[in-house]
């Protein structure tokens, strides 16, 4: 893909992002920030792609850390968002959290 194609995708994606995201009520901003935070963990793909070409210890170490960071970003990000959003689910009055009584 040449640079112009890449720039086309970039510009369109930016507009999609603005349109889709600007309609979020303030209540959901923190979960949304957390979710988009998890989405940029997509950089893990970069780590996976470059590690195959690694030919030395230093590059191995750099790649390992990059994939590790990316995985924490993805896994932690989505799980934490799920926990936050789980708080908004209506619970029947005798909630499951009252077992300590």
């Amino acid at each position: 893909m040449d640079l112009v194609d890449q720039l086309t995708i970039f510009v369109l994606a930016a507009f999609v992002g603005f349109e889709v995201i600007s309609k979020v009520p303030a209540t959901l901003h923190t979960p949304l920030m957390s979710q988009t935070n998890a989405i940029h963990g997509i950089v893990i793909l970069g780590g996976l792609l470059v590690i195959g070409a690694s030919d030395g210890l230093l590059t191995d170490v750099i790649g390992w850390i990059a994939i590790f960071f990316g995985t924490v970003n993805v896994v932690g990000g989505f799980l934490v968002t799920d926990r936050m959003l789980g708080m908004f689910v209506r619970k029947p009055k005798p909630g499951a959290e009252e077992q300590k009584k």
């Binding site: 209540t27 923190t30 590690i51 690694s54 960071f69 989505f78």
Partner: protein, 471 residues
């Protein structure tokens, strides 16, 4: 390629998987805009991520499986355990930390790419090299800046503005130096120096530290949001250099969302993003009226507060940062339940920046099983304030300061506030008279109708509840 070809995805199929993945990201974010569908939206986005990662792993350029599998296993374990254990009140710094890790990953990938091209003696084509330099610099700034933000929110670092003399000048020099070094490498694109590349990584790390350290703790949400956008753009740049559509689209989506969120947060504080980033808020204290002199205020105990609340018809609770810090949301919800049992109408007034991020207070109160409908936005509750018998301010300060409306010279003039001073009576639960993040006195505390209850939020709510039950 040998037999692997049969098992591996060809490039068209990979491209289709990426299209599915980023479609799921977009759908996921859109569903994230409604409380009912938000959770499913998050799952959709996570499914998109799984498809993108799975498809990439199935291509035949993937090697070094030992490294990949151990790194993914370790990352999954750490991410899983950390997110299962973190308290809801600590969510903002968790987001900061994850954001930083993403930024760090981008910077390290950029370094790997650099070494890869250099190791194969290749020419650094500018349409690949410029994105590499961009993601290296921005990723490193984001990593270190996010870590500082984490440290400030976690209380490891001072909340206050910390800066060297001539900080802006130093930052400017660092930025100019970084740009100059990147230009030098780009011009010398047949054999750019790796030493210079690593020096840039370090300079960007310093810049990330220096950039966030002078910003006060209250402004961290805006900073995290901005760095979230930065990381997104850095990831998109990595997509340019690796020619990977999933990275370009995913990163760009995050870049645009972070930008919007940053501007919305700044608007809610009635300040410009530039002012937050470069003014070092809180660095110029005691601008408020009556600085230095003791002003008279009225202090009460929990039983007085219980009586005032139990015999009111309508009560509005204004929760703030202090409530989040004291983990008092459950205790406050119990107090509200007890009041409702006595027929008192209880509502919560939510300032746009209550807690540490927009929506953070809603999450905390939802965790304490507070009915969604009792959370009222600032603009809807203010007209009701004159008809409210008692306003209870719990751990909030600047967002209730009438000086924002009355005193055009106040540093917070024009900031939207919850107009508790219009209520019949005000009870402020706070540990001391110390000022809030704006560093100014709150005129509300000295009004005749205001009573101060000097306790931590959780203890106060518990004692008030037990006093109410004994009435």
């Amino acid at each position: 390629m040998i037999a692997v070809g049969a098992l591996s995805l060809d490039s068209d199929l990979l491209a289709l998987c990426y299209i599915a993945a980023f479609s799921l990201f977009i759908l996921g974010i859109r569903q994230g805009t409604h409380p009912k569908t938000a959770r499913r939206g998050n799952l959709l986005a996570a499914a998109g991520m799984a498809i993108a990662v799975g498809a990439t792993l199935a291509t035949d350029v993937i090697g070094n499986w030992g490294i990949i599998l151990t790194a993914i296993a370790a990352g999954t374990a750490v991410g899983w355990i950390a997110s299962a254990r973190v308290a809801m009140t600590d969510m903002p710094q968790m987001v900061a930390l994850y954001n930083g890790l993403g930024g760090g990953a981008v910077a390290l990938i950029a370094w790997s790419e650099f070494r890869d091209i250099e190791g194969h003696g290749g020419l650094f084509e500018l349409d690949v090299f410029i994105p590499i330099l961009f993601s290296m610099v921005i990723g490193s700034i984001s990593f270190w800046g996010s870590n500082i933000a984490f440290g400030k929110l976690q209380g490891i670092l001072p909340q206050r503005s910390v800066s060297l003399p001539g900080q802006q000048f130093i930052n400017g020099l660092l930025l100019l130096g970084l740009i100059a070094a990147c230009v030098v490498m780009a011009v010398d694109n047949e054999s750019p120096s790796e030493g210079l590349f690593v020096a840039c990584l370090i300079a960007a790390a310093l810049l990330g530290n220096f950039f966030v350290l002078p910003i006060g703790g209250a402004d961290m949400p805006v900073v995290i949001s901005l760095l979230n956008a930065f990381t997104g753009l850095a990831a998109a740049a990595a997509g340019f250099s690796l020619d990977n559509t999933a990275l370009i689209v995913g990163g760009t989506l995050v870049g645009s969302s972070g930008t919007i969120l940053t501007m919305e947060m700044a608007t809610a504080m009635n300040r410009s993003v530039a002012n937050i980033l470069f003014a070092g808020f809180g660095g110029a204290p005691a601008a408020g009226a009556g600085a230095g002199e003791e002003r008279p205020h009225r202090s009460i105990g929990p039983q007085d507060a219980a009586i005032a609340l139990a015999y009111a018809d309508s009560v509005v609770i204004v929760p703030g940062y202090g409530l989040a810090v004291a983990q008092a949301q459950h205790a406050v919800a119990e107090m509200a339940d007890e009041l409702e049992r006595r027929g008192v109408e209880v509502r919560y007034a939510i300032h746009p920046v209550a807690g540490r991020m927009p929506g953070h207070m809603n999450v905390l109160l939802a965790e304490a099983d507070v009915d969604y409908e009792k959370l009222v936005e600032m603009d809807d509750i203010n007209p009701d304030m004159p008809r409210t018998d008692v306003a209870v301010v719990i751990g909030a300060n600047d967002v209730t300061n009438p000086a924002a409306k009355d005193d055009p010279d106040s540093p917070i003039a024009g900031m939207p506030i919850i107009e508790t001073h219009e209520a019949g009576q005000v009870i402020v639960i706070k540990r001391s008279m110390s000022p809030g993040f704006a560093g100014i006195d709150n005129d509300l505390f000295y009004m005749d109708k205001t009573a101060m209850l000097f306790m931590d939020a959780k203890g106060a709510a518990q004692e008030i509840t037990s006093e109410i039950t004994e009435l």
